[in-house]
């Protein structure tokens, strides 16, 4: 029986065997949608993608984890609320908080899950215009010292895809002030706030810089012809960044 299509068709030989040694886990929950895209992005960056299942109880020796976008559990109750309790999430939270500082990237629904799991502060509520919004979005890289942003220049503008219904980032003023003061705002929306997020925040990191969450989708901007404006590949930097981190290059 052949593989069903669109599950990683292309077998790109990794350019650098050092990179292929890096194992990046991509978690699938029931209702996850962008897992295949995240796997593709990992592969295009040269690393090895490892598919993880929410009900797994072990992390399969991965060097980093991506929690991809989608509507896990249908976004029912609150986006990310039910997924947060998955067995694998406990492992991820522990590993992220451990001395090993497992790099974790939460994209969109993944970001929502990370906030529900209290790995990142704040939360997301419905977009201020109340609609699902899919558009090409310019972001400013505010912090290029994290595990997932070090391949970018500080202050660089990148265009990636924004698509969500509950994307309005909120936190109390104290938390927001602290995020700003400690430089933990990783990305800010440029060219108009698309959803009412406080202080135009599109993504944040934890203090150690190993956990990053953002609403827009870098994994949809890794292949010319299939990303923003059908040419953009600005999202590749995320996946290159974590390789830098893992290989000790940065």
């Amino acid at each position: 029986m052949s593989e069903t299509p669109l599950i990683g068709g292309a077998t790109l030989a990794p350019v650098d065997s050092r990179l292929a040694g890096a194992r990046i886990g991509v978690v699938t929950f029931p209702g996850t949608l962008d897992d295949r895209d995240a796997v593709r992005a990992v592969r295009l960056s040269g690393a090895t993608a490892v598919e993880l299942w929410h009900a797994d109880t072990e992390l399969a020796d991965v060097d980093a984890v991506i929690i991809p976008g989608g509507f896990s559990y249908g976004d029912y109750l609150r986006a990310g609320a039910i997924s947060r309790f998955a067995p694998l999430m406990t492992k991820i939270v522990d590993a992220a908080n451990s001395d090993a500082k497992l790099p974790v990237l939460g994209i969109c629904n993944g970001f929502q899950i990370l906030t529900e799991a209290h790995l990142l502060p704040g939360s997301m509520i419905k977009n201020d215009h109340l609609k699902f919004l899919c558009r090409d979005q310019v972001l400013r890289v505010e912090n290029n010292t994290t595990a997932w942003t070090n391949a970018y220049a500080a202050g660089e503008d990148i265009t990636i895809v924004l698509k969500n219904q509950d994307g309005q980032y909120i936190a109390d003023e104290k938390t927001l002030d602290a995020l700003e003061a400690e430089g933990l705002v990783a990305f800010r929306y440029m060219g108009g706030n698309p959803n009412g997020s406080r202080r135009d925040i599109a993504g944040i990191s934890n203090a150690a810089g190993n956990v990053v969450g953002l609403m827009p989708h870098p994994e949809h901007a890794v292949e010319a012809g299939y990303g923003p404006g059908h040419t953009g590949t600005d999202g590749l930097g995320f996946f290159n960044s974590v390789l830098n981190t893992l290989l000790g290059d940065k």
């Binding site: 029986m1 052949s2 593989e3 069903t4 299509p5 669109l6 990683g8 068709g9 292309a10 077998t11 029931p30 209702g31 949608l33 962008d34 295949r36 895209d37 593709r40 009900a55 989608g70 509507f71 559990y73 249908g74 976004d75 029912y76 609609k131 699902f132 919004l133 899919c134 558009r135 895809v161 698509k163 219904q165 989708h217 994994e219 949809h220 292949e223 012809g225 299939y226 990303g227 404006g229 059908h230």
Partner: protein, 772 residues
């Protein structure tokens, strides 16, 4: 029903087959269930006795217009008859299955189908539209395919009617809410506002799936002893509506509980169902599979059985219920969403159950396949249905409904736009022409659809090579080779109203042209025929003519209809909607990297207009904006469409063009503005030469809707080659301008200059103005 005669029936308080045999004279609510006297008589004849309540439920839903195609069947035959061997060569599965399957090459196949969910959307726009997406996607899964994209052709009432906002907000949010949650990119559709759809909005939904040839699954139950399983959501009273007429079947005097008239979709359950089915297919764990749509278990059991070895035995009390008060007949009729039925061989039961456990999907084993030729359904061991499944699924009534060309048709066709009162102040000065262009691109039907499409995820999956606002949606299937497909849907209800035969052909021509414009080779057709009541001879004539026209045109274009859907009774009182045959064309790319976007991007490229322009203002957007509908739609020239298509496909494959946009509603004026706004790139255009060549004034050149035309942009280095190709094929072309990236304007030389900003404000402002 009053008396229960047999002991067993008494025991279970149920109308059994045994009971039916000895109580022939019981009154049955067949009329309330929508059956006609002759149809009920047929049921009795087929069975040789009166039906049980459960049997009556099955026949009534399966013999409905929606499931049996009784009014259209005699005409739809033409889609199967007017096909050549050549047209069949890539058709792996044709009409009759859940969806047709077309060979894409390299062992890949693609399946697509379009369906309507019109009246549910009128009642409850969000859920109606959402479950429309859900239903068509399950059709695609049941072929063994992974769904990869959806599209949504829509028709709503007048843009400024208060009820339109309700339908618009709900339907668009529902399509997005459901489709986005499934991880299926929405890659195109249509949006037309017209008061004829006020009481009957059209929500058509199209889904496309891909698979390897060996994975194709058909809906049949073969292999005596194989098990029948129902899985997915629990069965509720959905779609039965109001207090059930069938409550009497239990001979129970207590008041029937409420049955919901609307179905609520659970996109999360469907997403899980998709993944779960794909895992079943991958492990070859099912012998046959069928989605549950209209007519639910009635349809699934009778179709699976009659397409297989012909027999099946099912215990209905095994069905997992959401509402424990449902009667057997209601269970058989329920249209609860997100359910599938499969046939599993005994050795695969454990593996099947493991997949269900993994995805936390509920399932229940209902029975098994037999070779008796009978579909037997039991309730707690007592037989309540004993039928030949073919008589339920395939041998429904077929009607030759009377039809005749309406008396008013001649007068309508004689009333041309040119010279009408509505044409009194035809724009002619440069100022008027510019104002007309701005008015056109801001009009409800020609304005930007971003307000809608921004609510749809077009990126998920990472294989979307083109989507709105380009002419066709394009999806990559194979990441290594770039093999992929394009799909476009089109229909023009006004054209079809003026001339149903040619109107349907024009819908096909436009979808074909859109696919070719993207660079893909058209291969297959699916259609959704939205019409009024077939009992009205005028409407029946429109339907007959449209089917005849469409099937004739498919022959000429050499692409077969592989599936579709008929939606009748779309009318308010005695006023039908415009006949609206929505036609979807699927095309193939060897490598989607060669796709052609619709907008200009490179400075200095030459802009060519392919084709010639005649006075085709009847039925046009311009006439519509002026409140005129009459005359004859643009002439159909399918040979011309084929030639144009070949040019666009070759030019794309050989890298001769960098953009292409077909001319359709709104004519050249709309195409120029859309090409400029696509990537915010202006152009200088001169129209005098073409206008002189074609013998039309500039207004007609800009606003006429003559078919078989497109504009392309050609890199300087390719101009000679491109010219030579068109000349060799004897296809009219004219160099009408140059892309001007710095200009930030559409400069129609000698007439007017429209800044891109001013065009954009006009084009993009309309939907937000009405819908917020």
């Amino acid at each position: 029903m009053s008396e229960i005669s047999t002991e067993s029936a008494k025991k279970f308080n149920m109308d059994t087959v045994a009971n039916a045999a000895i109580t022939p004279d019981v009154e049955l609510p067949w009329a309330e269930l929508g059956l006609k006297q002759n149809e009920f008589d047929d049921v009795v004849k087929v069975l040789g006795r009166r039906p049980t309540a459960a049997e009556l439920a099955m026949y009534s839903v399966m013999w409905s217009e929606h499931c049996s195609y009784k009014s259209s069947k005699n005409h739809l035959r033409q889609f199967g008859e007017k096909v050549t061997e050549e047209m069949k060569k890539d058709m792996l599965v044709g009409i009759g299955e859940n969806a047709g399957v077309t060979n894409l090459g390299d062992g890949w196949a693609v399946t697509f189908k379009i369906e309507s969910h019109n009246s549910p959307t009128m009642i409850e726009p969000y859920q109606g539209a959402a479950t429309g997406i859900g239903g068509i996607v399950r059709d695609i899964i049941s072929m063994g395919a992974r769904p990869v994209a959806v599209m949504d052709p829509l028709r709503f009432g007048a843009i400024d009617h208060p009820d339109t906002a309700r339908v618009m907000h709900g339907a668009v949010a529902g399509i997005g809410g459901y489709g986005n949650s499934l991880g299926l990119p929405n890659i195109g559709g249509e949006m037309v506002f017209d008061s004829v759809y006020q009481g009957n909005p059209l929500v058509n939904a199209l889904a496309v799936g891909v698979m390897r040839h060996e994975d194709i699954r058909l809906a049949n139950a073969s292999g005596k002893g194989n098990k029948v399983v129902l899985f997915g959501a629990r069965t509720g009273g959905d779609g039965i509506g109001g207090a059930s007429i069938l409550s009497s079947e239990s001979f129970d005097n207590s008041k029937p509980s409420k049955r919901p008239a609307v179905q609520v979709g659970d996109p999360f359950a469907e997403k899980v169902l998709i993944e779960c089915c794909l895992e079943l297919f991958k492990g070859s764990l099912v012998e046959g599979i069928q989605d549950l749509g209209a007519a639910g278990i009635s349809c699934a059991t009778s179709e699976l059985a009659s397409n297989g070895d012909g027999g099946m035995e099912v215990e209905l009390t095994s069905v997992l219920l959401r509402d424990p008060t449902l009667t057997p007949g209601e269970i058989l009729m329920s249209e609860s969403q997100e359910r599938m039925m499969a046939v599993v061989s005994p050795e695969n039961i454990a593996a099947f159950e493991a997949v269900m456990e993994k995805w936390a999907v509920e399932y229940s084993w209902l029975g098994e396949v037999t070779d008796t030729g009978r579909l037997i359904i039991k309730w707690d061991g007592e037989v309540i249905v004993d039928v030949d499944p073919r008589t339920v699924a395939h041998d429904g009534p077929v009607y030759d409904r009377p039809y005749a060309r309406p008396e008013w048709q001649d007068a309508l066709q004689a009333d041309t736009f040119t010279g009408s009162v509505q044409d009194a102040a035809r724009p002619s000065t440069p100022e008027e022409l510019k104002a007309a262009m701005l008015e056109l691109v801001a009009s409800p039907n020609m304005c930007s659809k971003d307000w809608i499409t921004n609510q749809y995820d077009r990126y998920v999956g990472g294989n979307t090579a083109l989507a709105f606002p380009d002419d066709a949606g394009v999806i990559r299937v194979d990441e290594e080779t770039g093999l992929g497909f394009a799909v476009a849907t089109d229909a023009n209800g006004r054209y079809t109203f003026l001339d149903p035969y040619h109107g349907a052909q024009l819908a096909l021509a436009e979808a074909y042209r859109n696919v070719a414009t993207s660079g893909a080779v058209p291969m297959a057709v699916s259609d959704c025929l939205n019409f009024g009541s077939p009992e009205d001879p005028d409407v029946m004539w429109q339907l007959a003519e449209a089917i005849r026209g469409l099937s004739d045109a498919c022959m000429v274009l050499g692409i077969p209809v592989t599936g579709g859907n008929v939606s009748l009774y779309n009318q308010t009182g005695t006023t039908p909607i415009h006949p609206t045959p929505v036609v979807a064309v699927l095309g193939k790319f060897d490598d989607v990297a060669r796709r052609t976007p619709s907008g200009w991007a490179e400075d200095g490229q030459a802009i060519y207009l392919l084709g010639t322009t005649a006075d085709d203002l009847d039925g046009s957007e311009w006439a519509n904006m002026r409140g005129h509908l009459g005359g004859l739609p643009p002439a159909v020239n399918l040979e011309r469409e084929r030639e144009l298509g070949a040019i666009l496909i070759n030019a794309s494959r050989d890298g001769m063009i960098d953009s292409a946009h077909d001319l359709s509603e709104g004519g050249l004026a709309a195409a120029l503005v859309e090409s400029a706004l696509r990537f915010n790139t202006g152009a200088r255009v001169a129209l005098d030469d073409v206008a002189a060549r074609d013998g039309v004034d500039v207004f007609t050149l800009l606003f006429s809707e003559t078919q078989g035309r497109a504009i392309v942009s050609v890199p300087r280095s390719e101009e000679v080659r491109f010219n030579d190709m068109c000349t060799a094929r004897n296809f009219p072309l004219s160099r009408i301008g140059v892309v001007d990236a710095a200009g930030a304007a559409l400069d129609i030389q000698g007439l007017f200059t429209a800044e891109l900003d001013e065009l954009r404000v006009a084009h993009e402002g309309t939907l937000p103005k009405y819908f917020g």
